[in-house]
């Protein structure tokens, strides 16, 4: 189903390329070349996919429980902020401890931000879609505010933090490439989420609640407790995603460093049909698509925003297909 949606999206986008007077096959060839053409390109694609995998797997758990957490943008931004703060605050920490500490701070910040949304939802009954959406803007603005003040690099000309101490950087996975260890962490999280969803009591509660709230009530499952757990978990994963992007790619906090990541995570979760293990191919697909797009623009002059068109169309097609199947099951 997802493969068909991707194929349809590529076919529709080919028309757009043709309309601009370019050859779609040449353009897609350049896209492929830009994604997988060399070890360097592959390393960039894997790095790009890493935060998507982390945040995407969190969204998957939420959506499984019918919790529509679309607060990834804010949770990721604050995760990056917390990681930066810790890395700048304790530059003397030993070499392995500092990245671990920073990652932990990122996870904590993301979880707290999601927890705030969960609290407003439970206490005041405001739908989580609205709360998480509004908190996104606040979270991103907090990063801007801090970069203008305490954490900002003076005289940089752009809102960014000073470069982090080398001890805080995530180690490289393969020497002489940009590939950092984040992808391993992301893969572990994907597998753990898969096991948690299908092999633990927690996962059972999530699945029952998502499939039928009335059945969950009958089975004595507390909707509030499960709601809070998936929110905190996905917040922590999103926060980690932000921390990984800072510690592994930029080595500093930059304004807008994760724009669109949270929404891409939602797209990836859907593309994976809410299956944690399928987040792996879906996230990698998005990562490589985006690295390939810039190469495609350079090589054949097809504008790189075409990628967002492909992503958006894929989502619409997947959603439509999911809606149709759900409708048939009901009937």
């Amino acid at each position: 189903m997802s493969l068909a949606a991707v194929a349809l999206a590529f076919a529709a986008s080919a028309l757009l390329i043709a309309a601009a007077g370019k050859n779609p096959f040449v353009a897609y060839g350049a896209l492929l070349q830009g994604s997988f053409g060399s070890w360097d390109r592959i390393a960039v694609g894997l790095n790009k996919a890493t935060p998507y995998l982390l945040a995407g797997v969190g969204v998957t758990l939420c959506f499984r429980a019918r919790v529509i957490n679309i607060g990834g943008e804010g949770q990721i931004a604050l995760g990056g902020l917390a990681a930066t703060w810790v890395a700048l605050k304790f530059p003397q920490a030993p070499i392995v401890v500092l990245p671990a500490l920073s990652l932990g701070a990122g996870a904590l910040a993301g979880a707290l931000w999601a927890g705030l949304a969960a609290a407003i939802r439970l206490r005041r009954g405001v739908h989580e879609v609205l709360v998480t959406l509004l908190l996104n803007f606040v979270g991103v603005l907090i990063v801007s505010e801090v970069l203008q003040g305490d954490l900002g690099e003076t005289g940089a000309g752009f809102p960014q933090s000073p470069l982090l101490a080398r001890a805080a950087w995530l180690p490289r996975l393969v020497p002489r490439t940009d590939l950092h260890v984040g992808i391993v962490l992301a893969a572990i999280m994907v597998v753990m989420a898969h096991v948690a969803l299908w092999r633990t009591p927690f996962g059972f509660r999530v699945r029952v609640l998502g499939a039928s709230p009335s059945a969950a009530a009958y089975a004595g499952i507390s909707p509030a407790r499960t709601f809070v757990s998936v929110m905190l978990l996905s917040g922590a994963l999103a926060g980690t995603a932000g921390a990984v992007e800072v510690l592994g790619v930029h080595y500093r906090l930059i304004e807008g460093f994760a724009t669109g990541f949270g929404f891409n995570a939602v797209a990836i979760a859907l593309l994976a049909a809410l299956n944690p293990i399928a987040v792996l191919p879906a996230g990698l697909f998005f990562g490589f698509l985006e690295t390939g797009a810039l190469a495609m623009q350079r090589a054949v002059g097809v504008p790189s925003p075409l990628v967002a068109v492909i992503q958006g169309l894929t989502m619409v097609f997947v959603l439509s297909a999911m809606g149709l199947t759900a409708g048939r099951e009901r009937a």
Binding site: I70, I120, G125, V129, Q148, G149, P303, V316
Partner: protein, 309 residues
């Protein structure tokens, strides 16, 4: 009253205008039972088609029509996916927003050489002072010396109220949002009503985008709506799905934005980022305050499926 304050109020009204168009469009859609998360994308599409058509033909009227068409085009995607295919409304809205961002940026570069975005400039709509009323103190500059589309937004707010509360089609539309099965039972067609409501909502959101690009900025830039569609969504909820309430919500958000632009001139002791947060924090506070009394249309988010006999 000091000039700076009058100017601030006038700016608040100006800034609220695009939000109000989008919010009114969103009310149509949500009152009929379809979440309007796609407002952001529809605004962006309208902003784009409006500028391109105005630039191409030199006629603002054509540009405005094009912005209506641009908003409706995306609304058609939402309407098809959510009614025909019963796709999840919220996430479809999100998808459409990503799609609009990509499509407008891609097409804009299609006009330029070598995949770079060209700069398309059009003259912005000038203020149209109302004779006599425009000379009033305070109220004159704030209310009666505004550009065309601002008057349009206010008129539309009144019209929307009358439509929803005093007309038969308006009643049907609200009934579809509350209980589509009942509408079906008396011979109505809930799916058709929803499609029409989403399309009309897209048209208005597209006009909201035109306010941004044709009345305020005079060009199109990537993602120029910057979350205003989401803000309109918040205004709808804060205004409890009524046109008048949404108007108040939009004005409050407009005032916060106008204040943010004046932080330095007014030597306020806070940063502009903190003031930029205000609309979102205020919305959250109002929503939390309303709590469970902020009742959504009962059938919102639920696809209508005909029962089988």
């Amino acid at each position: 009253m000091p000039d700076a304050f009058v100017e601030f109020l006038s700016a608040a009204v100006r800034i609220a205008t695009p939000l109000l168009f989008a919010a009114l469009g969103g009310i149509l859609s949500e009152r009929a039972g379809v979440f309007a998360v796609g407002l952001e994308g529809m605004m962006l599409a309208g902003a784009f088609t409006g500028v391109v058509a105005t630039y191409g033909t030199g006629m603002v009227a054509v540009g405005l029509l094009a912005s209506v068409a641009g908003g409706m085009l995306l609304a058609a995607v939402v309407a098809t996916a959510t009614t025909r295919f019963r796709a999840d409304q919220m996430v479809t809205g999100l998808a459409v927003n990503i799609l609009a961002l990509g499509l407008t940026s891609y097409l804009l570069r299609g006009f330029g050489a070598r995949g770079e975005a060209p700069i398309i400039r059009v003259t912005t709509l000038p203020p149209l002072p109302v004779p006599w009323l425009g000379d009033l103190p305070v109220a004159g500059p704030v209310l009666f010396r505004q550009p065309l589309l601002t008057y349009g937004a206010v008129a539309l707010t009144v019209g929307m109220f009358v439509f929803l509360v005093r007309t038969r089609p308006g009643l049907t539309l609200r009934a579809v949002g509350e209980n589509p099965t009942a509408v079906f039972a008396v011979g109505g067609n809930p799916v058709r009503v929803r499609v029409a409501a989403v399309l009309a909502g897209g048209a208005l959101a597209g006009l909201g985008g035109a306010v941004l690009s044709l009345q305020q900025v005079g060009t199109f830039t990537d993602g120029m709506t910057h979350g205003r569609g989401y803000l309109a969504l918040a205004a709808i909820i804060v205004g409890r799905w009524m046109p008048g309430g949404a108007l108040v919500g939009c004005l409050v958000f407009g005032a916060a934005d106008a204040l943010q632009l004046r932080v330095q001139a007014l030597r306020l002791p806070v940063s502009s980022y903190v003031i930029q947060m205000l609309p979102y924090v205020v919305s959250l506070a109002v929503l939390a305050g309303l709590g469970r009394t902020a009742r959504l249309p009962a059938a919102i988010g639920v696809p209508f499926v005909r029962e089988r006999r």
